[in-house]
C-alpha cells in the first residue's frame, strides 16, 4: 500500500506541475465588438443649408467616463428638417459602422424620439421589412423659438406595431442620449 501512496502523490504532483506550466503567456485582450460608442443624428434643413449634427460618444463603453454630448448649432424656428441617424464603434480600427447591423435586423429594432419644448413633431419614419416604424430616418418640425430637448433611444426587440412611446415600444435599450437644443 505504500507504493500506492507514492504513486498517488506522484500523480497528484505531476498534475499540479503540468497544470501550472500550461501557460505563462499573457491573456488575449478583449475588445467588445458589438459595443456602440457613438450615435450621430444629422438634421438637414429642407429649406437648404448646413446640417446640424447631434452626437453622443462614450469611448470607454461601460467604463466610468460619461458620454460626451455635442450639438453643432441651433435650429431655425418653424422649419422642417430631414433627420437621419448612424451608429458606430470608434474603439475599432477602422471605425465600425453599426448602422448596417440595425438595418439588417430592422424588425428587431426601433428608434424612439421623445421631444419637449420648441420641437413640435417628429414623424414620417422609415419602415422595417414588416412595414412598421424603424426610425433611422425621420422628419422633424420646429415650433416657435425657445429651448428644446430631444431624446433618441435605440430599442432592441421592441413590441411592434406600437404607439411610438417608450413604454409602448418596450424591449431593451441599446443606446440612449438626450440633447439640449436651442431653437431660434
Amino acid at each position: 500500500m505504500k507504493t500506492t501512496i507514492k504513486l498517488l502523490s506522484m500523480l497528484a504532483f505531476a498534475g499540479i506541475v503540468l497544470a501550472s506550466c500550461s501557460d505563462d503567456d499573457d491573456p488575449e485582450e478583449v475588445n467588445e465588438e458589438e459595443t456602440i460608442t457613438t450615435m450621430t443624428v444629422s438634421l438637414t434643413p429642407d429649406a437648404g443649408g448646413t446640417a446640424i449634427i447631434l452626437k453622443s460618444e462614450d469611448s470607454d463603453g461601460d467604463g466610468p467616463n460619461d458620454p460626451e454630448i455635442t450639438v453643432s448649432g441651433n435650429l431655425v424656428a418653424n422649419s422642417t428638417y430631414s433627420g437621419s441617424v448612424t451608429f458606430s464603434n470608434v474603439t475599432e480600427d477602422p471605425v465600425e459602422d453599426i448602422t448596417e447591423e440595425v438595418e439588417e435586423e430592422n424588425t428587431e429594432h426601433q428608434l424612439v424620439y421623445v421631444h419637449t419644448g420648441a420641437i413640435s413633431e417628429v414623424y414620417n419614419f422609415d419602415t422595417d421589412d414588416d412595414g412598421n416604424d424603424l426610425g433611422l430616418s425621420f422628419d422633424l418640425d420646429t415650433g416657435d423659438a425657445g429651448e428644446a430637448a430631444l431624446q433618441v433611444v435605440l430599442r432592441h426587440e421592441p413590441t411592434k406595431p406600437n404607439d411610438g412611446s417608450l413604454s409602448g415600444v418596450g424591449g431593451s435599450t441599446d443606446f440612449s442620449a438626450s440633447f439640449a437644443i436651442t431653437v431660434e
Binding site: 497528484a12 499540479i16 491573456p27 485582450e29 458589438e34 463603453g61 466610468p64 458620454p67 421623445v114 435599450t173
Partner: protein, 797 residues
C-alpha cells in the same frame, strides 16, 4: 446503545501436522484495537465444534484446553464491540492475540438511532435523513437544506438555489461533496452548487466555522454531502426513483445499483436525468425557466477495517433558463420592472430554453486511501480533481447571438492528508494538511470583457482538531488552523477605470503594458495568511438533555469576484466593481444550544456573529453610459453583526400524531454605518402536523410556512431616469410583503418479494398563493412558483 456489526477476519496460520492427540490448547489475549487495553468477559466460542463458551478474565486472557488438532472457527464477541471471526488450523498449542474494534463511532456503516455521530462536540449540527433527501431528489440541494432550521437560500428564480446559513452564503458556506471541497465558482450570487442531490447518502449542516478540518473560512457554515458506507457482504441492491412534476410539466428519473462483496470490494453506479419546461406562477407562465440536468457518479474500492481505498468520479451537467423578463438593458427597464405587477415577457409554455441561460458542467474525481494503525489511529490520504465549466448566455444580437457572454473554466487539484489519534478512549486528535492548486481560464472568444480574470491560486493549510470527553457528562472540543492563500491574476483594466479606482497611485507597479485600445494589462499578486480557531463544550447528564456552547474564530480571504469584478452586470442592471485593496474578513461567532429529546423535545439555538471587515456589495453612485444611467455597486468592507435564534419544537401526541414547530430569526446590522445588512433572510415560522401508521408505513403531513416581511433592509437609492427626465426612487431594497404557503406530503410503502415500492405524493403552495420572496433575486420581475404537485415512485430492490 448496542449495535451489531459483522466483520470477517481471516487468519491463516501455517503448521505441519505432527500428532492426532486431543491435548492441544488455544490460549490468547483479547484487546482493544486502539489502545491495547485487555477486554474483560469477551466470549470465545468454537463454531460447530462445541457448545462451550469461554470467557476472558480481567487481564483479557482466555484458555481453551483439550482440543483435537484440526481447523476451527472462533467467534469472539464482546459487548459494544464488533464480533470477530477467526479461522485457525490447530496442530499444536496456539497462543493468539486478538484485537477487537471497540470504538463504535469508527463504524459508520450503520448509524444507530438516538446515537448520532457528530463532527464536533459543541457546534450546531443537523443532518437530513435519506428519506428527506429522496423526497427532495427532484429539487435542488438548496431546497432540501431548507428543511434544516437556520438554513435559507438566496435564489435566482426557482432553479438557482444557493444555500444560506445564518444569513450568509456564497464563499462563506463550504460545500463538501463526498469529502471534496466544491470549487464551482461559488462566488457568484447566481451560481448554485453543482451537486446532484440524488447521489447523496446523507447531508449534514454545521452552522458556523467550528469544523476546522474542512476549512478555516466557513463563516456561514459547512454542508457535508456524504456517501453511505457499505456492509461487507455479498450482495447486490439498488433503487430507482421516478418523479413526475406538474409545475414545469416534467420530471426526474434517478437510479443506482450497488454491488458489495464480503472481502470489502464494492462498486456503486448512479445516474439521474431531469427535465422541466417553463414553470408557472399562479397567474402567468414564467417564461424561459426550464431546466435540463444530468448527473452520474461511480464509486468503487475496497474498504476493510484496517485499510482501504476508494475511487470516485461524478459528473454533473445543468442547463438552466433564466426568466426572460429579467433581462434588462437600462435603469429605466429596472424601474419599469419594479413598478409593474407582471413580467414584461409572458410567452406560452415551452420546453425550449432560450437566452438568458446558464450551462454548467462539473467533473469531480477523487482517490482516497486509509490505513489504521493498531493502538495508534487512522491515516487518510486523498487526491481530488475538479473541473468546472460555466457558460452564461445573454440576450445578444448579430453574429454574437449564439456566443456565450461568460465562458469560464475552473480547474482544481487538491491533496489532503490527515491522521487521527483515537487510541485513548474519549480522546481524539486529528492533525491534517491540505495543498491546492487552482487555475481559472476566462475565454476571450466571448467578445465580452472578462468579469473574472485568468488566475492561478495556491492554497495550503494545516490544522489540528481535538475532541475530549472529560467524564460521562462533559465533553470538550478545540481546533486550530492556519491557511495560506496566494492569487496570481492577469487582468485587463480600462485606463479610465484604473484611474477612477485610484489604482494609478497604489498599484502602478503591477502594470505589464498598455494596449492599443486604452487598456492596461496588469498582474495583481496577493498573499493572505489566515488563522482560525474554535473551542466548545457540551454538557449532557442523560440521553434527553444536552447543552453546548461554541466559539469560532474564522478568517476568509477575498474571492476573485470581490477583488476583480469590473463591469456591467446585465441581470441586475448594475455596474459591479471589486477592489484590489480588499483584505480578509474575520468572524467571531458564539453559539449556544439547548436540546431536549424524548416524547416531546426542543432545540433552542441563539447565536451571535461579529464580522470585522465584512465584505459586501453596496450601491454607491450612478454612472452614465450610452445605454443610460446605471447604479454602481461596489464591494466595500465594514463591521457587521449578525444575531439570530433558531428554535424548533416537536411533540408526539400519540403513537400516530406528531407536530413540529420551527422558528428562525436572523438580524444583520452594519455596525459601522448603523444600518441593516442586505439579503438577510426574513423571520419565518413553520408548523407541521403529521400522521403515520404502521399499515403500509402510511405517512401524511401538512405544513404551513409563514414568512414575515423583512423590515430591516438598507435604504433604497435614487437614480436618474432618462425616460422621466428626473431622479426617481429605485425601490431596489424594499422587501416584498409577508406570505403564507401550505404544503402536503404523503407516502406509502408496498412490499413485494424482494423489493419495496414507495409512493410519495407531495404538493407545495397548495392554495396557489402569489408571493415574492426577499431572497429571490428575480423578485423584481415575477412572482414565485405557484402550486406544484409531485408524484414519486421509488422502487428498492
Amino acid at each position: 446503545m448496542r449495535a451489531w456489526f459483522i466483520m470477517f477476519a481471516m487468519l491463516f496460520v501455517q503448521f505441519t501436522v505432527q500428532s492426532q492427540q486431543c491435548k492441544s490448547v488455544i490460549t490468547g489475549v483479547v484487546t482493544d484495537f486502539h489502545d491495547k487495553t485487555p477486554l474483560v468477559r469477551a466470549s470465545i466460542s468454537l463454531i460447530g465444534k462445541s457448545d462451550s463458551v469461554f470467557y476472558t478474565d480481567e487481564n483479557g486472557f482466555f484458555k481453551i484446553p483439550n482440543l483435537c488438532n484440526g481447523i476451527y472457527e472462533l467467534e469472539i464477541y464482546h459487548a459494544e464491540c464488533q464480533t470477530a471471526f477467526m479461522k485457525v488450523d490447530l496442530d499444536t498449542n496456539l497462543d493468539l492475540n486478538i484485537p477487537l474494534e471497540h470504538h463504535l463511532e469508527e463504524l459508520e456503516e450503520v448509524k444507530v438511532t438516538g446515537n448520532k455521530i457528530t463532527k464536533t462536540n459543541s457546534a450546531m449540527e443537523e443532518t437530513l435523513e435519506l428519506k428527506t433527501i429522496e423526497q427532495y431528489g427532484s429539487a435542488s440541494l438548496g431546497d432540501a437544506l431548507k428543511e434544516i432550521n437556520g438554513v435559507s437560500s438566496l435564489n435566482t428564480g426557482a432553479n438557482i438555489v444557493k444555500p444560506t446559513i445564518h444569513g450568509l452564503s456564497g464563499s462563506r458556506v463550504l460545500v463538501l461533496n463526498n469529502g471534496v471541497r466544491m470549487q464551482d465558482m461559488e462566488w457568484g450570487a447566481e451560481h448554485a452548487p453543482n451537486v446532484d442531490v440524488n447521489a447523496a447518502g446523507s447531508i449534514s449542516v454545521i452552522k458556523g466555522a467550528s469544523a476546522l478540518q474542512y476549512g478555516g473560512d466557513a463563516i456561514g457554515g459547512v454542508i457535508l454531502i456524504e456517501q453511505n458506507r457499505f456492509l461487507k457482504k455479498d450482495s447486490i441492491f439498488g433503487k430507482t426513483i421516478v418523479t413526475g412534476i406538474l409545475n414545469g410539466r416534467g420530471g426526474k428519473i434517478n437510479t443506482d445499483l450497488i454491488k458489495t462483496y464480503k472481502n470489502g470490494w464494492f462498486i456503486k453506479g448512479q445516474a439521474s436525468y431531469k427535465k422541466l419546461g417553463d414553470q408557472e406562477a399562479p397567474s402567468y407562465v414564467l417564461s424561459n425557466t426550464g431546466v435540463n440536468e444530468i448527473g452520474a457518479s461511480l464509486h468503487f474500492g475496497k474498504e476493510n477495517f484496517t485499510s482501504g481505498w476508494r475511487g470516485s468520479y461524478s459528473y454533473f451537467n445543468t442547463e438552466i433558463g433564466i426568466l426572460s423578463a429579467s433581462h434588462i438593458g437600462s435603469v429605466d427597464d429596472l424601474i419599469r420592472a419594479i413598478n409593474d405587477d407582471e413580467p414584461t415577457v409572458i410567452d406560452p409554455f415551452t420546453y425550449d430554453i432560450a437566452s438568458p441561460r446558464q450551462e454548467v458542467t462539473h467533473h469531480l474525481g477523487k482517490f482516497k486511501y486509509y490505513n489504521r494503525f493498531e493502538g495508534l489511529g487512522k491515516l487518510n490520504v486523498q487526491y481530488d480533481f475538479q473541473n468546472n465549466r460555466r457558460f452564461e448566455y445573454d440576450v445578444r444580437t448579430g453574429d454574437d447571438k449564439f456566443k456565450p457572454s461568460i465562458d469560464l473554466e475552473l480547474t482544481t487539484h487538491a491533496l489532503t492528508s490527515d491522521f487521527k489519534w483515537d487510541a485513548k478512549s474519549g480522546f481524539d486528535l486529528t492533525v491534517g494538511v491540505m495543498g491546492r492548486y487552482q487555475n481559472n481560464f476566462a475565454n476571450p472568444d466571448t467578445g465580452v470583457r472578462r468579469l473574472i480574470p485568468d488566475y492561478d491560486k495556491y492554497d495550503a493549510g494545516i490544522f489540528s482538531v481535538m475532541k475530549l470527553s472529560l467524564d460521562e457528562d462533559w465533553k470538550l472540543d478545540a481546533g486550530l488552523r492556519y491557511d495560506y492563500s496566494k492569487i496570481d491574476a492577469k487582468k485587463f483594466y480600462r485606463t479610465s477605470r484604473w484611474e477612477e479606482r485610484g489604482y494609478d497611485e497604489d498599484f502602478s507597479d503591477i502594470i505589464i503594458r498598455e494596449t492599443e485600445s486604452s487598456q492596461y494589462l496588469t498582474q495583481p499578486i496577493f498573499d493572505y495568511h489566515n488563522v482560525s480557531a474554535t473551542m466548545g463544550v457540551n454538557y449532557s447528564t442523560d440521553n434527553q438533555h444536552s447543552m453546548s456552547f461554541n466559539y469560532a474564530l474564522a478568517n476568509r480571504a477575498p474571492n476573485p469576484s470581490e477583488l476583480f469584478s469590473d463591469g456591467l452586470h446585465h441581470s441586475a442592471a448594475r455596474i459591479e466593481l471589486g477592489d484590489l485593496r480588499i483584505t480578509s474578513e474575520t468572524s467571531h461567532k458564539a453559539s449556544l444550544s439547548l436540546i431536549k429529546n424524548g416524547d416531546w423535545g426542543y432545540t433552542l439555538e441563539p447565536y451571535v456573529n461579529f464580522i470585522n471587515d465584512f465584505i459586501y456589495l453596496e450601491p454607491t453612485d450612478v454612472e452614465y453610459t450610452v445605454r443610460g444611467a446605471f447604479p454602481v455597486w461596489e464591494y466595500h468592507q465594514t463591521n457587521a453583526r449578525i444575531l439570530g435564534l433558531d428554535l424548533s419544537l416537536y411533540a408526539n401526541w400519540t403513537d400516530h400524531w406528531k407536530t413540529d414547530h420551527k422558528f428562525s430569526l436572523t438580524k444583520g446590522k452594519d455596525t459601522s454605518e448603523d444600518e441593516p445588512l442586505i439579503n438577510i433572510p426574513a423571520a419565518h415560522i413553520r408548523n407541521k402536523i403529521s400522521y403515520n401508521i404502521p399499515w403500509k408505513n402510511l405517512e401524511v403531513g401538512l405544513e404551513s410556512k409563514y414568512v414575515f416581511k423583512q423590515n430591516e433592509t438598507p435604504a433604497d437609492i435614487y437614480v436618474y431616469s432618462p425616460e422621466q427626465g428626473e431622479d426617481v426612487l429605485l425601490e431596489i431594497n424594499t422587501a416584498p410583503a409577508a406570505y403564507h404557503v401550505l404544503s402536503l406530503n404523503s407516502g406509502m410503502d408496498f412490499k413485494f418479494d424482494k423489493s419495496t415500492l414507495t409512493v410519495n405524493l407531495i404538493a407545495t403552495n397548495i392554495l396557489d398563493v402569489s408571493y415574492r420572496d426577499y431572497l429571490n433575486r428575480l423578485r423584481y420581475f415575477a412572482d414565485d412558483l405557484g402550486r406544484n404537485i409531485i408524484l414519486q415512485f421509488k422502487l428498492n430492490y
